[in-house]
Symmetry: C2
Subunit: 313 residues, 2 copies
DNA sequence: GATCAGCTATAGCGATATTGTATAGCTCCA
DNA sequence: TGGAGCTATACAATATCGCTATAGCTGATC
């Protein structure tokens, strides 16, 4: 099998004619005829059905054409990578996010890809850090935004943000962005949190211990949407980062206040597998995510402390 | 660029030596030296750093190697497709499910792939039909299990199942698998359902109209996990398919009863884009999903009426 | 039905590209 | 310091590819 044969397959398939493909490729028609014949002989399969005025792909031919096309895409990627061109990327990339991050980042990220690399096939996967870690290692996703994993197994991580967590209550709770709540004031209150296997729960429990109190966690729910709904309906207060709450606060459906003594924070990192090179796709995605995080922090939508140098710095 | 050059790149990169690669490939060492040189000249980039006892990849060389490897994977797929071999597949496939289906199908599907094609990179995406349709058309996923879409735009669909929906209540609700509930008995009861944009909600509303009643939908939640939790905590009853409830019933956390007059059902189909050939990966995934559905229906875990011929039939 | 246009397939030959042989030159290790 | 192990290049031999010529088939037109 040779690249010239695959190239011929693609052109003949598109034009339905050896003669037309020969004209397009600037070679003699018998040369292409022999190439197709040699490919068919090597694969022991009929790629085309011949008729009096040309030839059309067989079902098997169509299937093999799909792979041949992918080969060409990879060759273009080789040339673009070699040239460090910012040509529009093609191919697929899987990107993972924790659920609280996915909403705020997905829309501008998809917009950025749509503008710069519209041919790229994005897979945005929302899941918890444990799953994302597993999928990164297995190569099912190419990079992920993670809350700092305890064991950095074979990952190359780039710190993004120390994200502040806020106390969330219903609109009539008196909570305000300008009035910080000491952590110990939570004692005795009905607090809604994710389950104990959730990293956010661990951070909050550690803060409670540090403040010398015990939290009354009456309800556990792993979905922040569920937590929000429960808070809105007066079932208690919760502790979450601000991005998923931002619209609810603006619409006066929820209220939020910073917490102090201690201030609960989570460390957000951008992670890639260490055992595979970072292709242009993943690099563009990572840079774009970092830019989005920076933008949201600087606009006050996402309270926290930036941890990385932006590309414009 | 030629396939022989890419093949040489891969072997030299692995062995760190032209001489060793030449020995492995059964060709003279100068032939490989010249192939690498010609590839480097064509791409205008240094792929290897030479030292006294061999050569190692540069960063750019590693990046290009990744693409070269993908080319080889596609060539192997061409050969396997041509031979109709059931060789272990490689590559990536995205499969979409509605959330109520994802849990019951994901585990056996991942198991089947792990057994037959462990090198395949699966992307299992849970989302509602509207999103899944969009991603199918954009090629972000390769196939999806869908509740019957109203407009089958460019899809090739294979019917799977008419899935029965059940009335779900807390364990002390008196609901039982052996005692069917007429739909009109739901009037006045507190019913928890997904929002109006959800297909299940539409079906249930149509059944209510047919029964001549109006439902009291006090709470809307799009997550079936949320719906289950609310029912368990006595906040009302809901209507769902059985698979996500099966374990809760067995553990006496929930109870379920069939509904009649009318019987609410949803039509489940397996869909592929019509404009791309179904590769071996997608075909294996589709066949496996159909087998899983059949198995669950026959074991009584998933009540409904099978709509397709199984491969063993 | 005959003829012609449009197409694919094969044979043979020449040109070009690739590989093998020989060997130079470099680095590193004992 | 000498030898082993390696890469790189020159040149000859070999293999592959493209071109020309042409046979044979199908389908459209008259």
């Amino acid at each position: 099998m040779e690249l010239s044969q695959l190239r011929t397959l693609i052109h003949v398939a598109e034009l339905g004619s050896l003669s037309k493909a020969a004209e397009r490729l600037g070679v003699a028609q018998p040369a292409l005829s022999r190439q197709i014949r040699m490919l068919e002989e090597e694969l022991a399969v009929r790629l085309f059905a011949r008729h009096g005025r040309g030839m059309i792909l067989t079902d098997k031919g169509r299937e093999i054409l799909e792979h041949a096309t992918r080969v060409m895409v990879e060759l273009e990627e080789i040339r673009a990578a070699a040239a460090d061109l910012d040509t529009p990327l093609r191919g697929r990339i899987g990107i993972g996010f924790p659920p609280t991050v996915a909403d705020i980042i997905s829309v501008p990220l998809v917009a950025a890809f749509g503008k710069a690399h519209p041919q790229v096939e994005l897979r945005l996967v929302g899941a918890y850090t444990g799953y994302l870690l597993d999928w990164l290692h297995r190569g099912e996703i190419d990079l992920a935004v993670l809350y700092d994993p305890h064991s950095a197994r074979s990952l190359r991580s780039q710190p993004l943000l120390l994200e502040n967590l806020f106390l969330i209550g219903p609109p009539d709770s008196g909570l305000s962005g300008t009035h910080a709540i000491p952590f110990k004031d939570l004692e005795g209150r009905r607090i809604l949190l994710p389950s104990t296997r959730h990293g956010l729960r661990t951070i909050v429990e550690q803060c409670a211990t540090e403040a010398g109190i015990t939290l009354n966690v009456a309800v556990e729910a792993d979905s922040y949407a569920t937590l929000k709904d429960l808070v809105r309906h007066g079932h208690g207060w919760t502790i979450l980062p601000l991005p998923p709450i931002h619209d609810d606060i603006a619409a006066n459906r929820l209220a939020a206040a910073p917490l102090i003594d201690p201030v609960p924070v989570r460390r957000l990192v951008l992670s890639y597998p260490a055992d595979r090179p970072v292709l242009r796709l993943a690099r563009f995605a990572g840079d774009t995510i970092a830019d989005i995080v920076t933008d949201h922090v600087e606009r006050g939508i996402w309270p926290g402390q930036l941890l990385h140098q932006t590309s414009s710095a």
